[in-house]
Every structure is written in C-alpha cells, then in structure tokens.
Symmetry: C2
Subunit: 250 residues, 2 copies
C-alpha cells in the first residue's frame, strides 16, 4: 500500500524537510519522500509544484518553495505549517485547544533563530547569489550571529525549559515529547554542524544545560537513533546549515 503522506523536496539535503522527516520517523508513520529518490525524479517533482505555470485550482495553487506535503487532495507548504498540521495527527501535539498555539509560537521562534538566521549567516546579501560573492558580509553577519543572536535564541529555549512547571522529563511543553522538541533537536544539530566551536563554548558555559539535555534525549529515542544511523538521514552539505570555518573566526 502506498504511504498516505508524500513529502516533496530537493534531493540529498536535510534542509527544511528534515523537520518533517523527524516527525514521521518518531511516529513510525511511512511517507513517500521525493528527496530520497534520484535527482532525475526529485527535481521535476519540486519544480512542477512551484512552477507559476501550474494549472489553476484553489486546492493546488502554486507554492513559492518546498518542502510541500501532499495528503489526499490537500497540498500544504511552509514547514511550520506542515508541522502544525501533522503534529496532532501523529500524536506529537495536543489535538485541540490552546496548547497547539503555544507550541506553534515556540516553533516559529526557533525557526527564526536556528533556520532563517543561520541561513543568512552565509547569504546575508542575496539568496540567489553564490556564497563566494558575499563572503566578507557573511563574516560580519556571522560574528553578530555568534555573539548576539545565537545566545539570545539559546537563552529563549533554556528559559522555556525552566518556565515549564509541568515537570517530568527534559521536554519543552507539558511534560511529554512534542514536535517542538524534535524541532529544537534539529535546530541544535544543524547549528552544531555549522558553528561547532561556538556551540562548544556555549555548552561549556553551563547556561544552556536544559537545551543540550533535550538534544541528547531526542537523539537517544530508539526510532530517532535508528533513523540518524540509517542512510535515510542525508548528510549536511550546501543547504541551510553549512560549515565554513572562516565564519567562526573573528
């Protein structure tokens, strides 16, 4: 039987799709992932859905960028939106009520800091231009990120963990694992790859122990550990989280 869910993304990159994959993997729900096929298959799957020439129809209006999730007739874009749709269906968030809005607020803030701002460290001037053509600006932006922004977002996550009065476990919300924890895991994992020296210093400061504890706790969950060790987990390369040693030099 074909999987119920189809994930459309560029091939061979963790990227924004990685957040969605982690939900499916933790929930043990099968999904069709174009990003795991060959480039010959994956690239047209993406360009077909973001093309301005897509046939009209409000249920399949063009989207600006992948990842895209297809579920039945529904076509969804924007990663935090896809996660919000999936979380209650996969048992990784409350089915209704105010809790899901609290989680969505947390997730959108994590994306601001650990996805969008990390991306802009290597592309501060022009998304569509090469890194090499904005390298000096990338160094300046990275310095501001390492010294001001990253500690700010780390402190935000740490404060959330300290403020949650529900106790029980290392999790962000309500004393049990939710999709927000999987999001924070990926944020930290990607940032450890991109800025290893900086993250080592932040860890050794002892100010963010809750964040690193959560990171390790997610990493050790059986299905996540199995996934991370598998070939399904794409290697970091030239996506959002890139490692340029010069961006950690002053």
């Amino acid at each position: 039987m074909a999987p119920e869910y189809k994930l459309i993304y560029w091939p061979q990159l963790p990227g924004r799709a990685e957040f969605i994959r982690l939900l499916f993997e933790e929930a043990n729900v099968p999904y069709n992932d174009t990003g795991k096929g060959s480039s010959e298959e994956a690239v047209p799957a993406v360009t077909g859905i973001i093309s301005p020439n897509k046939p009209p129809g409000s249920s399949n209006a063009p989207v600006l960028a992948p990842p895209v999730l297809q579920h039945g007739n529904l076509v969804l874009n924007q990663t935090p939106n896809i996660l919000l749709y999936l979380a209650p269906r996969l048992g990784l968030g409350p089915a209704d009520g105010d809790g899901l809005f609290r989680l969505n607020g947390i997730v959108l803030t994590l994306f601001d800091g650990f996805v969008d701002e990390v991306h802009d460290t290597h592309h501060p001037i022009a998304v569509q231009d090469y890194y090499e053509n904005q390298k000096d600006e990338a160094r300046r932006r990275s310095k501001a990120f390492r010294e001001e922004r990253l500690p700010k977002f780390m402190a935000f996550a740490q404060h959330l963990l300290e403020a949650d009065s529900s106790g029980g476990g290392p999790w962000l919300y309500g004393g049990q694992l939710t999709y927000a924890d999987l999001v924070l895991f990926q944020c930290i994992d990607g940032t450890l790859y991109a800025f290893p020296k900086t993250m080592k210093q932040l860890k050794e400061s002892g100010k963010y122990d809750g964040v690193f504890r959560l990171y390790e706790a997610v990493k050790k969950r059986p299905r996540i550990a199995e996934y991370l060790a598998s070939e399904r987990r794409a290697k970091y390369s030239t996506g959002i989280w890139r490692h340029y040693p010069e961006l950690e030099e002053d």
Copy 2:
C-alpha cells in the same frame, strides 16, 4: 467592560502588530492596545513579558519578541500564530478543516517576503546595530530585493489570485475576504512606503494587477478606511518598513 483581547507591542509603530490590528478593525472587535498608550506605559508592558526573569509557569513562559496577544489565560506570540488563532474567532477564516492550513501557508510566505526580507534590506548584517553602520550592505541587499526577491513574491501573490477557481471578488481564497487579504494589504502598503519607485514600476508593468486590485479593495472597506484615516493608525517611521531613498538607487 474591558476588551476581551489585549495586544502588547512597542508604542507608536505599525510594525508586526499592524497585521493584528487590521483583523480587529475589520471585525469591529474592541481590543486593548499597549502600543497606543504612552511610551511610559507601553515599554514596560513589552519588556515585562519578554523578560527572562518572568516567573515560571508553562502558560506564561517568556516570549522572545512582541507582538503578544493575551486572551484570558492564554499568552500567544509570533504574529502569524496570533493571526491563525484570531481569524476563525473574528469571522476572517474558516473555523476548521483544511482551508485554515492553506491560508496559514499563504500568510507565512507573505511574511517571508514582505516583512522579514523587507526588514533585512535595511539591516542585512546585524539586527542590533544601526542602519548607518551597514548602509553599503543595505544598498546591495536592497538591489537584490528589488530586482529578484520582490518580483518573485509579487508573482507568487498574483499566481495565487489567478489560481483561485472559486471566483467572486478580488480575494485570495475561497471567493471571500479572509485574514490573508488583510495581511497582503499591509504587506503592499508597507512596501509602497519603503520602495515607492520600485512599486510604481511593478504596478506599471501590468503583471500584478490582481495584487493591486486586492490592495485597493481592502483599503476601501468601510471599517478599514475609517481606521486608516484615524489616529489609531500609526505612521511609518523606523520599524520594519522604512523609506531610505538611497536604497532605491543603483
């Protein structure tokens, strides 16, 4: 009777709070707005809620940045999240089902292009530093924004309008006004202020007629027109949408 909703934001700026205000104004629902009080009242209201020293409690965990919406015991942050919460309650989005996820995907994409990327045109290197200290980079980033990014996001909105097969009116989704239309209105209004020459060229190209038609249609709605003419509508100044003439020069 005190309003049911409280909006917490910096004083005297449209900013991200403006999206939230437009929903309340169109729905004719009263709201308490700290941004409309004096700075002596508004600033502590904001800093009190974003402070890392807030007392613990999962329902009022610290938030990173305003705007914040208080509704009963619920404290929400992140503008697209607040809009998603409010839209069905204010009659500006479907109460359930897939439609709200389609709208959220549209709104998140509009925020990427017309809020976050517009902000970065004047702050490409460091959020916390002055514009004057990143002026050269701002010129380069603005050029890329004007030539590549802005037309891309304008085309996205235009394609959505053309793809909606439900007909009836100038709206983005389902043939009736939703909160996504109010969001697109504010995106265009802010960008017209920041980049008037560029937007004039885009309008004259005739490629985005649907977008400008929607903009005018929202502007003429009686409650929106009344609001825009009132003193409640803050003037643009040094927020997200800033007008620096040099950022439209090549």
